[in-house]
Amino acid sequence: MGFKKKDILDMESLSVDEIKYILNMTDKMKEISGRSIKKVPTLRGKTVVLFFYEPSTRTRTSFDIAAKRLSADSISLSGSSSSIVKGETLVDTAKNIEAMNADVIVLRHSCAGAASMLAQRLKVSVINAGDGMHAHPTQALLDIMTVVEKKGRIDGLKIAIIGDIAHSRVARSDCVGFTKMGANVVVAGPPTMIPRGIEVIGASVAKNIDEAIKDADVIMALRLQTERQGSFLFSTLREYSKAFGITKKRFESAKEDVFIMHPGPVNRGLEIAPEVADSLHSVILDQVENGVAVRMALLLLTAGGVWNVDSD
């Protein structure tokens, strides 16, 4: 099959076949990153605009590296340097970028639905790099890639996602993505942070953290945004780590071949103990590596470059 999508907005809108196609492409991209000269000319002459309304180091850098490895010209616009402060609307700003003949807009925005709004209004391809609490499809794809690599499959695995589910776009996209690929997703966290109706996106809710991680093949810890303490969502950070963190003790009750994941940035000692994050079971840095490859694949597929990696 070919890949016909103009935009990458969320995991709901990707079919299983499309996800497999992307993973297959990711595999090829990963090979490029392993070379000593990590660059191919595939997207030479293409312009990728990294349009970040929200601060981000990891995702932006990952996209930037991905674009450069494919020889695209990447330009970064951030909240402070773009026209946002001048009171221009998102659509107007994006239309200006489009008028400069950009090929792909990578959008990070604090509002759910921002990427789909641009996708509807623009001819240029839009890749959602995180929209509010809604979706983070490139993260979900790199997570799927990592699990496939490490476990050889996804179908039938138990994947536990632990922490602040309610405010996490990563959790939403992972629930949808992993479930689509046949996994059994279980979420757990403070009851204040489990959104109502989470079942509709494929997850079941565990009674507590221990139940969630028991028999799990993969444990994904989510970052706690510590400023949420002010909204009555939990008591103290101390208690959070004790009651809801992946502690050393809890980790000992997990399966022997379990893998530990985290979308980063890690709060060591809060949602995950340092011993766990650094253990041989941790694939946190593999996720980061796969992130570049997934984003290369998506840029390639959306920017419409001709894939000639075998011939160069």
Partner: protein
């Protein structure tokens, strides 16, 4: 000039239901008879109303007309024109203009503009608190004298229970109705749509049902404490319907309204981040919609009012979380409400109560079809099929989630003070 409305089914609940002829003279109803009235002279307009329904003028007791202050969204003229286009002879205009209607001067201005426009009547609603700030009571005496029928801090719920208590007591003394926008702001904070599976899927902050019902229960308690009449605006949840039903059983002086979008749509309409489905209170679940329909059917909810809230693309063509709350309603309310009759939730008689008689009674105005009464009336064709087309709205607001929806029935004539102010073009 005389107007004869011939052979319409005249429905004035508690008064008339039958095929009648209505003769209008000098702005007043001269005769209502089964026999053809006797009249002299040739200066008469005859409206053939066979197969049509003639009702006392419809009243929308919850609209936002935006003037003064936000004339780019709606003016009193366009709003009043939209009202008669939708079959309404009168509207209650909420006070959240700029300046806020918390004074006789603003009230006078609104009434003057409405008169100049010459379409629907306006009954202005004054602010409960000065500037809608929730701190100091407005001058209810002055407002009442200037023509205000009710007070409300609509859109800015009264946080202080003490202020609400005092407003009820103070308003009662002047014979003013208090209309409450019931919302517990802390619970609603950071929410932009109904809390539930759609919000979870879309990653949008949720507003729980309790944000409304907690406030409904508080205000019912305060109404019972003070004995002052309370009208609860835009009921959207099953818990609110239950609370109001129980309060009425106890004899509390409480009335309530809901809007067509709450008995027509659910939070599913938000899919695709549709900002035309964003309002406050938010569209709720299917269970809530059922409860609202049942509340209308059993009389718990007295009134259908639209919460007509025109916005321009500046407020709506933006990220969902940044978009303003509200939709226009004046020109879709009647067909959407007629569907309740088609679907068997209401009789036509009950519908006329909800859209005409009850609002009149609640705000304390005459609205009856009888000789000598002012000829405010609406003629409805319950059968014609059409589609909502926002491009044809007389309102400046195009923010409706109903565009393109198939509808049946609507107003074909609207008469205010015996004058035809709207007449549907016959195809």
């Amino acid at each position: 000039m005389l107007i004869l409305i011939k052979s319409g089914r005249v429905i004035d609940p508690g008064n008339i239901d039958g095929i009648m002829n209505i003769l209008i003279k000098d702005g007043l109803i001269a005769e209502i008879t089964q026999a053809e009235p006797v009249f002299f002279g040739k200066d008469i307009r005859i409206i053939e109303a066979g197969g049509l329904i003639v009702t006392p003028g419809l009243i929308d007791m919850h609209v936002h007309l935006r003037e003064p202050g936000h004339e780019y969204k709606e003016t009193i003229e366009t709003g009043c024109r939209a009202a008669v286009h939708g079959g309404f002879t009168s509207v209650c205009a909420m006070p959240n203009t700029n300046p806020v209607n918390d004074s006789k001067e603003v009230t006078h201005f609104i009434l003057k503009q409405a008169e100049a426009a010459g379409y629907a009547r306006i009954y202005p609603v004054g602010a409960i608190s000065q500037g809608l700030e929730g701190k100091i009571l407005s001058e209810f005496f002055d407002l009442k004298e200037a023509g205000v029928k009710a007070v409300s801090d609509d859109g800015f719920p009264v946080r202080s229970s003490l202020l609400m208590r005092r407003a009820l007591e103070y308003a009662k003394g002047f014979g003013l109705l208090v209309i409450s926008h019931c919302e517990e702001m802390d619970l609603a904070k950071s929410g932009v749509m109904n809390e539930g599976e759609v919000a979870t899927r879309l990653g949008l902050g949720g507003i729980p049902n309790a944000a409304e019902s907690v406030a409904v229960m508080r205000d019912i308690a305060l109404s019972e404490l003070t004995g002052a009449p309370l009208h609860i605006a835009h009921v959207s949840t099953r818990e609110s319907v239950d609370a109001i039903r129980n309060a009425k059983k106890r004899g509390a002086p409480v009335t309530a309204e809901t809007a067509p979008h709450y008995f027509t749509l659910t939070h599913d309409a938000v899919h695709g981040y549709n900002t035309f489905a964003k309002m406050n209170p938010p569209l709720r679940s299917a269970e809530d919609r059922t409860a609202v329909r049942e509340g209308l059917a059993d009389g718990t909810i007295d009134v259908i009012a639209t919460d007509h809230a025109p916005h321009s693309s500046i407020e709506k063509d933006v990220e969902f979380e940044f978009a303003a709350n509200g939709i226009v309603g004046l020109e879709t309310s009647l067909p959407l409400s007629l569907k309740l009759v088609t679907d068997g939730f209401l009789s036509m008689d009950e519908l006329v109560k909800k859209m005409s008689k009850n609002p009149a009674r609640i705000i304390g105005i005459e609205n009856t079809l009888k000789p000598g009464a002012v000829a405010d009336l609406t003629i409805i064709d319950p059968d014609y099929h059409s589609k909502v087309n926002s491009a044809e709205f007389k309102s400046m607001g195009r923010n409706t989630p109903f565009d393109g929806m198939k509808i049946k029935g609507g107003a074909v004539f609207t008469l205010v003070r015996g004058k035809v102010v709207f007449e549907k073009e016959r195809p």
